[in-house]
Symmetry: C3
Subunit: 142 residues, 3 copies
């Protein structure tokens, strides 16, 4: 069994939910060597998150952004952690609601997702930079 | 170390939270061979999810269904993704809130869960079919 | 590749979100032997959860506790599972919203987290005991 780890970067994006499956996979040519295994991704931030969801209709991503803005509101009078602006504490809460890591099976050199599943980067800050991920791939080679 | 992967199916169920530990384990006789390891499950859908929770009182599952229906409402006027009915976009949101994969330790050939923990299939659609899971098991044999 | 598993205990804490990175790591001297790998943690309970979030400002943890108490209220008239008090069903719901396991990369003998990321124990009961975790570490040695 082989195990491989590297850090990759996702380019800077605006606040919202973004489909990044291709941007992740293109940085991982090593996937092709794994016949059966798993890929783990950690996003090294506490104001952005990653999830799997629908990969076809962009309306799902914009509805998702609207839902999370409604369920985790800005400017709540009881927030005490406000040092970086009104999007600061909501970003931390969204990060814990959605999660900061994903594990995905690898089969025959490819991510084994459902037909309609893709990887979302969920950017919770108004002005973020690029985002760092640690990717760990392991499994049996062909 | 050994690694093993297979696809299993969970039978069609109505909308709600369902305890499926036994239905998962019975399809995985390979677990018995692992002395120490991990099992990863991915549900290959974006309108159902999986989680660990209380395995004894069915009221927990029905209260869970009620909570998620209240916190992710149907027919919000601002949903733009409605093509498959009022349960469509709420199902995607619940999927991201709850998550589409689980990793569980294996010890002495069995899932090493807490006494009160079980695997829930969370079915968010009114009329779903059976649900596909990819299961990856790895670890050291006896 | 090596794989190692053990059960550790987190000391009893009051209800709230608690930074426990150091308490976890100090119980895992085995981490130092892993050059590249992953650590998986499962909390063996359904009324506490674990997540990654901001490791510096304690206000983030208290704001998080306030948010989850508002979004998952006690004493909802429609709760049917109340046998252990008003914090019982909310604890189960929070556990599924936040999650009961974490997977974190290991690089050069240390957890490879972002600068501001730490491990939170989220204690959802008013009167809990200590909490049990199963930790599974695997990867390549130096």
């Amino acid at each position: 069994m082989n195990l491989f780890q590297k850090e990759i970067v996702l380019e800077q994006r605006g606040r919202g939910f973004h489909l990044v499956t291709d941007e992740v996979v293109i940085q991982l040519p090593e996937l092709k060597n794994i016949k059966t295994g798993l890929m783990h991704i950690l996003i090294k931030h506490t104001s952005a998150s990653i999830t799997l969801n629908e990969n076809f209709d962009p309306d799902v991503r914009s509805d998702m952004e609207k839902y999370f803005n409604r369920t985790v509101k800005e400017n709540e009078p009881w927030y005490e952690h406000n040092s970086e602006g009104p999007d600061d504490m909501p970003a931390h809460i969204k990060s814990t609601l959605i999660g900061s890591s994903l594990t995905i099976p690898i089969t025959n050199g490819k991510l084994n997702l459902g037909t309609w599943q893709g990887i979302y980067l969920c950017e919770h800050r108004n002005h973020a930079r690029s985002r760092k991920l640690v990717v760990t791939i392991f499994g049996d080679e062909e």
